[in-house]
């Protein structure tokens, strides 16, 4: 392994693997390979594996022991990363930045001293890395936001952020998969849904994949929405 990790108990039935405490794509890539590998190695003993930016939580069916902890350690020393080469999918996601959808854009642009064109150019230029999902079912944590667009979350959250809103919170950007309260600044909306609980898994987009946004008009937004087009990858 490239990075030094710390392996510890997490309560009665879980083991935590911690990478160095920083957000970077190399750590994310290594962590995802380890996740795939351990999923295979412990398929009959694990209930689930959860991931954060720089940690994995192995949640077992029964009580974890020191022997198991040692076993995880020794498995990690044997992992052959060449067996876990997965090319990440790039998802090209259309976003309408019209102020009718970007309900917080006016305020956001004023605070940042930017024009709407600046915002659209910067937000669509970056290729975002998916570090994880959480906060809401299917909510994607996207890293790689242009630092000129960083803005602290609102101190008072919106009670109803509409489904499919694209928003900025702190150093991250994300898409709300369902209507929810939230403190992020809404700058647009995508006509596509990526999260459907009738499917298993409910989303085709995986942690470790990449996302690029492109700007569409209101007309295009409704065309796509009404045709229910699938996402382009």
């Amino acid at each position: 392994m490239k990075f030094k990790v710390n392996i510890s108990f997490y309560g009665e039935k879980a083991i935590l693997i911690d990478w160095p405490r920083e957000i970077n794509e190399e750590i994310s890539a290594e962590l995802l390979k380890v996740q795939d590998y351990l999923k295979e190695e412990y398929w009959d003993q694990l209930l689930d594996i959860a991931n954060g930016y720089q940690s994995l939580l192995l949640y077992y069916k029964s009580t974890v022991t020191l022997n198991l902890l040692q076993d995880v350690k020794s498995k990690l020393s044997k992992i052959d990363f060449n067996n876990y080469k997965k090319t990440p999918t790039l998802w090209k996601i259309p976003v309408c930045y019209d102020l009718d959808f970007g309900i917080d854009s006016t305020n956001f642009l004023e605070l940042k001293g930017l024009s709407l064109t600046d915002l659209i150019n910067m937000h669509t230029a970056a290729v975002y890395h998916i570090y994880g999902k959480g906060f809401l079912p299917g909510f994607l944590y996207l890293g790689g936001l242009d630092e000129k667009l960083f803005l602290e979350r609102k101190s008072i959250p919106n009670l109803k952020i509409p489904k499919n809103s694209v928003a900025i919170g702190g150093q991250q950007t994300g898409i709300y998969p369902s209507q929810s309260p939230g403190g992020w600044h809404v700058i647009g909306s995508t006509p596509l849904s990526f999260f459907n609980i009738k499917n298993s898994p409910p989303s085709q987009i995986e942690v470790g994949d990449k996302v690029k946004f492109h700007s569409i008009s209101k007309q295009e937004y409704f065309n796509i929405k009404n045709k229910k087009l699938v996402i382009d990858s």
């Binding site: 405490r21 959860a50 954060g52 940690s55 022991t65 079912p137």
Partner: protein, 292 residues
């Protein structure tokens, strides 16, 4: 022949009543909480008394139980502490099989202790299973809580599967006082000052009235701080140390990741013990270590 489906009609939705089973396992990476019975012990008892598998879907209440009407005969067991149960106007016992006739209506009154309670039905409730579970959760299942006139499907009972009427247990509640909650050290235990680490298990904490299925907020302050961590996985039973100095014990509907230091982790059984503690009831943490 497939058995016909009958319904329980919700006459009054109560407060925060839901369908729960053992939960939705395997979707933490999708950001989907596990959910499931707040109190596995109580829900499991109700199911076992009926001869159900202990993980069968049941009705869960907190504070105000629902009023229900049954469209067909069935058998149920109610587990809850300090409750009065009325079938039509007849008083019934908790922790004992109750036989229901067509059009019977059920109401439950809570007395002093307002904890989580359960109504199990023979064969289970048959609301839609989503990602392996019937547990209600916003944006996953159609409903988050009971609504008036909602209909909960069940398979009506078949004569020869009748559970013996004498299935009963005596459940004695501990006299009200302090509930001891077994905990392991969490990953960020050492972020606390040494004095606080040793004080934590000597302090009494009480449950705030803002507590719910996502988490129990504790009333007492320990110490304000400015430590945050990079969003990391959490589980039901994780104790978070918020910047204000208050503690939150994450419960079954907890979000899958969090950014507050995770100072303690409850044992599996103590999560159910904590669920029994009413608002303003007292708890004390007891540190335990992992098996070798």
């Amino acid at each position: 022949m497939t058995p016909k489906v009958s319904y329980i009609e919700v006459l009054h939705p109560g407060i925060a009543c839901s369908i729960q089973d053992a939960g939705r396992v395997g979707y933490l990476s999708e950001g989907i909480p596990m959910s499931g019975f707040m109190d596995f012990e109580m829900a499991g008892l109700a199911n076992l008394l009926l001869g159900n598998n202990e993980n069968t879907s049941v009705i869960e209440w907190k504070l105000i139980p629902p009023k229900l009407k049954f469209s067909a005969p069935c058998q149920i067991v109610i587990t809850g502490i300090d409750v009065d149960i009325y079938l039509n106007s007849e008083l019934k016992e908790a922790f004992k099989v109750i036989t229901i006739k067509e059009n019977d209506s059920l109401s439950i009154r809570l007395n002093k202790v307002k904890g989580y309670g359960y109504i199990a039905i023979k064969g289970g409730i048959r609301t839609e299973k989503i990602l392996g579970s019937r547990s209600f959760y916003p944006n996953i299942t159609k409903h988050s809580f009971f609504k008036k006139r909602m209909k909960l499907p069940f398979v009506p009972f078949i004569e020869n599967t009748i559970t013996k009427q004498f299935s009963k247990i005596n459940y004695y509640k501990k006299p009200s006082g302090i509930t001891f909650v077994d905990v392991f050290k969490g990953p960020e235990f050492e972020l606390m000052p040494i004095s606080l680490q040793s004080d934590l298990c000597r302090k009494l904490f009480s449950i705030n009235n803002q507590s719910n299925r996502m988490g129990f907020l504790l009333n007492e302050f320990i110490e304000a701080h400015k430590n945050s961590i990079i969003s990391s996985p959490v589980l039901p039973g994780t104790v978070q140390w918020t910047p204000s100095g208050k503690l939150i014990v994450l419960m079954r509907d907890a979000q899958t990741v969090g950014g507050y230091p995770r100072i303690l982790q409850l044992t599996e059984s103590s999560i159910s013990q904590l669920a029994k503690v009413p608002t303003n009831g007292f708890i004390q943490f007891v540190l335990v270590t992992n098996a070798v």
